[in-house]
């Protein structure tokens, strides 16, 4: 049993507690609060003047498979050999030894969703993992945690422009997505009749149609977001809106549709036409409209060690601090379907938390220790 005492604790699921205690045992949280009796055999850590938060949950990253400083040999971000690769799994490409994991732990990010990029209409399986470990299969919280899809510029550039094949327009992209959802429906019928031959890609499409996993749709521009919602309604599937860069322009429509958004990477430049309205005003606008959303880095597009800066800037643009912290912890955990395990400091959840020297949005604050499953995985 381990007791962290005298800390300022942000449980997220309830308001901030001063001079509080966090009690953990066997990798789980036992208790959080002020009047907690600590058994004599517990090891006590004094956190006077320090801030204790759940580990960040980054709902959209490419941690472990984008290559980056390891060069082309390690790039496994997009299986761009065809526009439909629903059969591929991020799981098979994520390298736990990649520097992005150490980078994640260094800023207190303990859970990430990672997986394929946005080159394809159906990009493959996403997975949600803890950020410490050597065997990827043992780091998994949920796999698959979604099927990646993409609208907008990327698929039409990867395939139309470079490879001279469909899709070369937004019309083409939407048509291909519909075609494959219809194929999935037909495949499901055959499955029900016991007549279906195994098909890895269509099995994943069926999971989407059965709402076992959401389709996570890359959509920056407002019209792409609206297309994603249109198709989701047509096929009665669950989606999350990935990036949602122009979400602030149609926030009420988003709120009415009821789908969650993963907003970012905002701490970057407007690298594409579809990101011309990139702004830290987006999270505040979604908050005001009542949309459930998470803040994301899209690592490496915003490097994961700068996640706290993303939160600070969203707050500086009007988002209440409490809402910002939720958008970096509990909301992404809910969007990923892992909130029974992570995302807040509540009894019974995994002991994934971070001791900060001060408030995480202050420049001079540092991560002192990051814990995953009750174990120290980073020490500043």
């Amino acid at each position: 049993m381990l007791a962290f005492i005298h800390a300022t604790i942000y449980p997220i699921s309830s308001p901030k507690i001063e001079n509080a205690t966090l009690l953990i045992q066997d990798g789980k949280i036992l208790q959080v609060g002020q009047q907690i009796s600590i058994s004599a055999d517990a090891e006590v850590v004094d956190c006077q003047g320090q801030v204790l938060l759940p580990g960040w949950v980054d709902a959209h990253t490419h941690v472990g498979l984008w290559g980056e400083a390891e060069g082309r040999a390690s790039y496994d971000g997009n299986e761009s050999s065809g526009p439909i690769t629903a059969q591929v799994r991020g799981l098979d490409a994520v390298n736990p030894a990649h520097h992005s994991f150490a980078d994640a732990r260094s800023i207190g990010t303990t859970t990430v969703q990672t997986g394929p990029g946005s080159g394809n209409i159906l990009g493959g399986e996403l997975l949600t993992i803890k950020t410490a470990g050597t065997i990827i299969d043992r780091m998994v919280l949920r796999a698959p945690s979604g099927l990646k899809s993409a609208l907008g510029e990327n698929p039409k550039r990867f395939h139309g422009e470079v490879m001279k094949r469909m899709p070369s327009t937004r019309m083409g992209s939407a048509a291909m997505l519909r075609e494959w959802l219809i194929k999935g429906q037909e495949y499901r019928k055959k499955m029900d009749q016991g007549k279906a031959d195994p098909d890895l890609g269509l099995l994943n499409v069926v999971k989407v149609l059965n709402k076992e996993i959401p389709l996570r749709v890359h959509a920056h521009r407002a019209d792409d977001i609206v297309t994603a919602i249109r198709i989701a309604k047509e096929f009665d599937i669950c989606i999350s809106l990935e990036h949602c860069t122009e979400g602030h322009l149609i926030a009420d429509y988003l709120a009415e549709a009821g789908f969650p958004a993963c907003v970012g990477p905002t701490l970057g430049h407007r690298s594409k036409v579809e990101t011309q309205n990139l702004s830290f005003d987006t999270p505040f606008a979604l908050y005001k409209a009542g949309v459930k959303f998470a803040l994301i880095t899209d690592h490496p597009f915003v490097p994961i060690p700068f996640y706290n800066i993303v939160g600070a800037l969203a707050t500086a643009h009007g988002l209440p601090e409490e809402a910002t912290l939720r958008a970096m912890t509990l909301s992404p955990a809910e969007i990923l379907g892992v909130d029974q395990r992570v995302g807040s400091l509540d009894a019974g959840k995994d002991a994934d938390f971070v001791i900060w020297s001060g408030h995480p949005f202050k420049t001079r604050s540092r991560v002192l220790k990051t814990y995953i499953n009750g174990q120290v995985v980073y020490q500043g």
């Binding site: 980056e68 407007r270 800037l313 949005f361 420049t363």
Partner: protein, 384 residues
Amino acid sequence: MKLAFINGELWTVSQGIVQEGTILLENGKITAMGQNLVLPADAKVIDIKGKIVTPGLIDSHSHVGVMEESIGWAGDDVNECTDPNTAQVRALDGINPGDKGFEDCLHGGVTTVQVGPGSGNVIGGEMLVLKTAGTIVDHMVLKPLSGLKAALGENPKNVYGGMKKMPSTRMGTAAVLRNALLEAQTYGKKKAEGKEQATDMRKENLLKVLSRQIPLRVHAHRADDIATAIRIADEFQIEITLEHCTEGDKIAELIAEKKIYAAVGPTLSSKSKVELKDMGYQTPVLLNKAGVQFSIITDHPIIPETYLHIAAGLAVREGLPEDTALRAITEVPAKMLGLYDRIGSLEVGKDADLVVWSEDPFEFMSKVCYTVINGEIVWQGGKQ
């Protein structure tokens, strides 16, 4: 136009911090600064109690206006990748003052930038220094030719190796650079001897480097590329600056010994290439310990100009003294660009370029309340 900010905490850079200070701006210059100043009756007075004033920030390495954002191919004019030596081209001719990047500058308190071609070519072309507000680029120019851009490392060999042309290796890149300098030397000799020859714009610019009228500003991330830049500079007795200098911390003693300026960054970005493998905020910290003079840069749009103050803040978090971090985005780049007589500190007689911050500018959440260029408020933040 007379404008005065009163009750501010003035971070002058050259003369420490003035508490509850007043700064008076007239005709584009700073004309008075201090405590308890008597102001002209016709001055517009803005009370900035509790706020901090710094000089306008200077980014010594940017592609604002020439690498336009969010309009795709149509606005990308940063690399003339048709030949590895394009010493004759001018960034000036590719800059669009309508680029959103200039708004980013004003929102982030950046009032002066050096803009240059990218690093696709071994010799990329002319760089220039400009103020960040205006509609006619020629009117924004502070120094029309502030250096010649060169590049070592991955980029040129990626561009030309991909076309199966020289350079496809670091050896090739160094050879292309040496060869261009040698040919310009020969051209210069003939010119000095009065021999008739066709004017060659590329060689004319390289002659300016050889005669030390302008520096060669060399893109170099890895320690070996930095060492190559220094080797070639020694061979030709030219002045260089080290642009990026990502692994400068590994050979900080050499850089200090050679008294070469470094422009460090963009550290607030991803390790997108092999040559950025060891990128981190240890570089400015260790360069400082070794005594190297350096600026902190955004390399906009790689990091948007809005975040220059955050880049400096992260260096502070990693142990760079605050006054050094402030100098790295004001005084040092001004000196690197040969413009410290005009900009880079709050001093009477200098250009009236300043920023009013809601709080400590190194804080992530600090907001720009006012950006002032040449005595004019060019950006005013929302409710503070």
